[in-house]
């Protein structure tokens, strides 16, 4: 398996191979890390939409209103809102004054809930070193993969703990 570096390589040969492998792979790792940090456009529009609808839970907003506010593509926002509706995060309301409305209390919607709608799920327990459809026999024993797992776990915990309410209006302690 191309991506895996098992622990325990002590000899010079193994060290050299590791060094060469790192030279070769580092570019791919960085590009995947960037991919992890940089969310796709639909995710961004999804977060904008939920945030906008969450600001006023009673309001029914049209695709146009959201798209104009953020100066983004109306067509893309329409698609994003449909996906959010299928995921049960927003509700689609038909009719002349129709549009979209938040479907749940905002403290029950986390950033992760929105991100999960648009970011493809990894088959390999979220390892950032392999492609989405790749599997890896060394999962859990790969030195480099473990570092990215650590980052991933931190990121997931953070995104799961921040609700839309927290984004809109965090409480003040002092």
């Amino acid at each position: 398996m191309r991506c895996a570096i098992p622990y325990g390589g002590q000899s010079y040969k193994v060290a050299l191979r590791l060094f060469l492998w790192i030279q070769f792979e580092i570019g791919a790792c960085i590009s995947k890390l960037e991919h992890m940090v940089k969310l796709n456009k639909s995710t961004r529009f999804g977060l904008y939409s939920v945030l906008e609808l969450g600001r006023n839970p009673e309001a029914i907003l049209s695709v146009k209103e959201i798209a104009e506010k953020y100066a983004i593509s109306e067509h893309h926002v329409a698609k994003v809102l449909q996906q959010l509706a299928r995921a049960g995060l927003v509700r689609s309301i038909r009719g002349l004054k129709g549009g979209f409305q938040i479907a749940k209390p905002c403290q029950q919607i986390t950033m992760m809930d929105v991100i999960e709608v648009f970011e493809p799920a990894h088959r390999n327990d979220g390892c950032l070193l392999v492609d989405l459809d790749e599997s890896c026999d060394f999962h859990g024993s790969c030195a480099i993969g473990n570092v990215f797992d650590e980052i991933q776990q931190q990121a997931v915990a953070t995104l799961k703990s921040i609700s839309i309410t927290t984004l809109i209006a965090p409480k003040k302690l002092t």
Binding site: K160, S163, P170, K171, L173, T174
Partner: protein, 147 residues
């Protein structure tokens, strides 16, 4: 909910042990007897030791324990919330927030401008609580080693 806050007292011990046991799943009276001793004795002028409980109808329904620590891990004086617990029957009713606010107010009045805490990564409820209260990732990364 009509609860009040007051400083921790010796007779709050059992309630604190019980609330902690509900959350942690461990009944640990020895630890708490030892740990609370610091909060019950009169602290020196240099020490900042803060312990408060929330009381509803005469019963302790929440607690918070915090202290000021200077130069640990190279950090200038900052406040540490190292224990907070609310009886689940009184959850999501502002008890935890009120306890946190009280501690932060007190820290601020003593010239402490940063408050830290540590939460298990998988304890999403408590993480969410602190996040919603304005806490963010700090400048330290906690590391551990299994030996």
């Amino acid at each position: 909910m009509d609860f009040t806050l007051r400083k921790i007292r010796g007779d709050d011990r059992d309630a604190i042990i019980a609330i902690d046991a509900i959350h942690s799943g461990d009944h640990k009276p020895d630890y708490w007897h030892d740990r609370l001793r610091t909060f019950l004795k009169k602290s020196s002028k240099q020490q900042i030791i803060l312990g408060y409980v929330a009381v509803l109808e005469g019963e302790v329904v929440g607690y918070i324990l915090a202290e000021g620590r200077a130069w640990e891990f190279g950090s200038p004086l900052c406040g540490w919330i190292f224990a907070i617990g609310v009886n689940p029957d009184c959850g999501r009713k502002g008890v935890g927030l009120a306890l946190c606010q009280e501690v932060c107010r007190k820290f601020k009045s003593l010239g402490v401008n940063t408050v830290r805490t540590m939460v298990r990564r998988d304890d999403i409820d408590v993480l969410s609580f602190f996040r919603a209260s304005g806490f963010r990732a700090g400048p330290f990364i906690e590391l551990e080693l299994e030996i």
